[in-house]
């Protein structure tokens, strides 16, 4: 179903008028409420009165993940802390996590866009949804929860993990919709078979999968394993969490909710918009958010965008699946991982210098595994195995603390990690996504 036909199917001219109205309100709001942005806008020579329509967005400066880090925790907020009702964090590149906060209206917006996601995937009020994204600081679980509340679905908030229980609850409560990471969906199909259950006879008929990149091949595998429609959801916590864009059953691009999250596809080298259909960095302006509205935020995701009307009736622009990143971030079991986070840990452990390599692998139908190879150094080498194991375990624990996922740490001989142009090749991703 189309949850918000008024905006999702709006005529382009009407949509533009709506966006222009929002932007004309947003810029003075940010300018007068967020000193960091005021400085940014002043520096770019943009005063609020110069913003007359959405086309003027190109005059505005970009916002980057570094800005989020530099102004941690509350520098980019446009409201006082007493107006914040909920806080979420995601991975930062180093040290501090990326923090976002929602006002009461922001949470309402989140519920609205997530209801659109659910509708776009094929949910109708009264459906039962099993939410197997993690609940907590990660936006996945609660984002779906709010959308399902808004639409009026029956919610089974299983959160992630405990596969046998997931499968039992799916059957006992006849859940028609499953929301989780695509790799977990495949893993559960394999587990179901192990438990003597035929996943093609499963209750789930619609899957809403995201939080990590996945391919068409993986979609086909999931669809045939579970005999379901597998759709892709896109979002990032800086913008709202899940709820930025979603595929309809035509699976022909992700409808981005451009009335509230204004998308531009930017050439990361020049900062100029690319022609329609060409690849560039997805850059989003949150037109109506109050807590931490962001102007032209660089998502670092490489996508293309098309503007033609979809067969489903929606007129909203459609973005492609993520084709790459402008940085070296990888996603492991739904968690964003930056090599710099691991570097930070290694530097922090006395005697360790950051010669390391991250190897990500996924055995067939298994969850992602991460191995961090660390070159042993003269300074922390010991003739005693127990001391070496202590160092290895300390590195492992600290990395796990920062990343919130289990890793294997292997000590290797110096100069064995491949260096190209003097720099180590930090990530070896062996997964066939």
């Amino acid at each position: 179903m189309i949850w918000r036909e008024d905006v999702e199917c709006a005529a382009p001219a009407d949509l533009k008028e709506l966006q222009s109205g929002y932007l004309k309100k947003l810029i003075p709001y940010i300018y007068h409420n967020c000193p960091v942005y005021k400085q940014k806008l002043d520096k770019a020579g943009v005063t609020p009165d110069r913003i007359k329509s959405i086309d003027d967005i190109r005059r505005l400066p970009f916002t980057t993940k570094e800005d989020m880090r530099d102004h941690y925790p509350f520098g980019l907020f446009s409201v006082g802390q007493d107006h914040i009702r909920e806080i979420h964090v995601s991975s930062g590149t180093t040290g501090n996590p990326t923090l976002v906060g929602y006002t009461k209206d922001d949470l309402k917006l989140w519920g609205d866009v997530m209801a659109r996601v659910l509708g776009c995937a094929g949910a109708v009020p009264g459906d039962t949804i099993q939410i197997a994204y993690g609940y907590g600081l990660f936006t996945g679980g609660l984002g779906f929860h709010y959308g399902a509340l808004e639409m009026g679905l029956r919610i089974i908030p299983t959160s992630s993990g405990q596969t046998a229980r997931q499968l039992k609850l799916m059957q006992d409560f006849n859940a028609r919709i499953i929301a989780c990471t695509p790799s977990y969906a495949l893993y559960m199909a394999e587990e179901a078979k192990e438990l003597g259950y035929d996943p093609t006879q499963g209750n789930w008929k619609i899957g809403i999968f995201g939080a990590e990149p996945w391919s068409e091949a993986m979609r086909q595998e999931i669809e045939s394993a579970w005999n379901m429609l597998a759709t892709d959801v896109y979002g990032l916590s800086e913008i709202i969490g899940p709820g930025v864009a979603q595929e309809c059953h035509h699976k022909d691009g992700l409808h981005i909710f451009s009335d509230v999250f204004y998308p531009e596809i930017i050439d990361p080298k020049t900062g100029a918009p690319v022609p329609e259909g060409e690849d560039g960095e997805l850059t989003i302006t949150t037109l109506t958010k109050q807590g931490i509205p962001l102007i032209r935020y660089g998502t670092r995701d490489i996508v293309s965008m098309r503007l033609d009307k979809c067969r489903c009736g929606r007129t909203s622009p459609r973005i492609s699946k993520i084709k790459g990143r402008t940085d070296d971030m990888i996603v492991v079991r739904g968690i964003n991982v930056f090599p710099s986070q691991i570097e930070h840990v290694l530097v922090g452990i006395e005697g360790t210098q950051p010669h390391y390599q991250i190897i990500v692998d996924r055995q067939a139908h298994k969850l992602d595994e991460v191995e961090v190879k660390v070159e042993v150094e003269q300074r922390f080498f010991s003739d005693e195995i127990k001391r070496l194991n202590e160092i290895r375990d300390k590195i492992r624990k600290e990395i796990e603390n920062v990343l919130s996922i289990g890793v294997k740490v292997t000590l290797v001989e110096p100069k064995t990690i491949e260096r190209s142009m003097g720099k180590s090749k930090r990530i070896i991703d062996k997964r066939a996504l």
């Binding site: 005693e384 001989e413 110096p414």
Partner: protein, 143 residues
């Protein structure tokens, strides 16, 4: 009267032990005693050689992680209960042995053992007090 052991980090990879031995061999360094401690992914090779300064230089020049470790070499009666008698003395005096291994050669009819202690100084005092012969570095060189 400590002697110097060289400890070398080795990954569990084919040929790594050979690499070390052939490097030392071509440079006329003789290995007197040797042991390997291994885990699933790496091992530590511990050796006593006749020219330890040269050996460690060679190893480090070839990108091995190698350290000097102080160990104690002692003579042990080469007969049933010989080692037990010494270990009893150590245990009675609360001296903990981290690891130990044997020499290839010996001076006399007694076996020659390398021992690594948590507290090397204290262990030496205990051994000396109990008239156990501690072998000096120069004895090793003369082997």
């Amino acid at each position: 009267m400590k002697i110097t052991q060289i400890s070398i980090f080795l990954e569990n990879r084919k040929g790594r032990l050979y690499d070390v031995c052939s490097l030392l061999g071509t440079n006329h360094v003789n290995i007197r005693a040797l042991t390997i401690a291994e885990t699933e992914s790496f091992g530590v090779l511990r050796i006593v050689v006749d020219k330890s300064d040269l050996a460690i230089q060679l190893l480090r020049d070839h990108h091995f992680v190698a350290n000097f470790t102080d160990v104690v070499a002692i003579e042990v009666p080469d007969q049933p209960g010989g080692l037990a008698s010494i270990l009893k003395i150590l245990a009675d005096n609360d001296v903990n042995v981290e690891y130990m291994y044997g020499f290839v050669e010996k001076f006399s009819d007694k076996a020659l053992l390398v021992m690594r202690f948590e507290d090397t100084e204290f262990a030496q005092q205990v051994l000396a007090k109990n008239n156990i012969r501690i072998v000096a570095e120069k004895d090793i060189e003369g082997l």
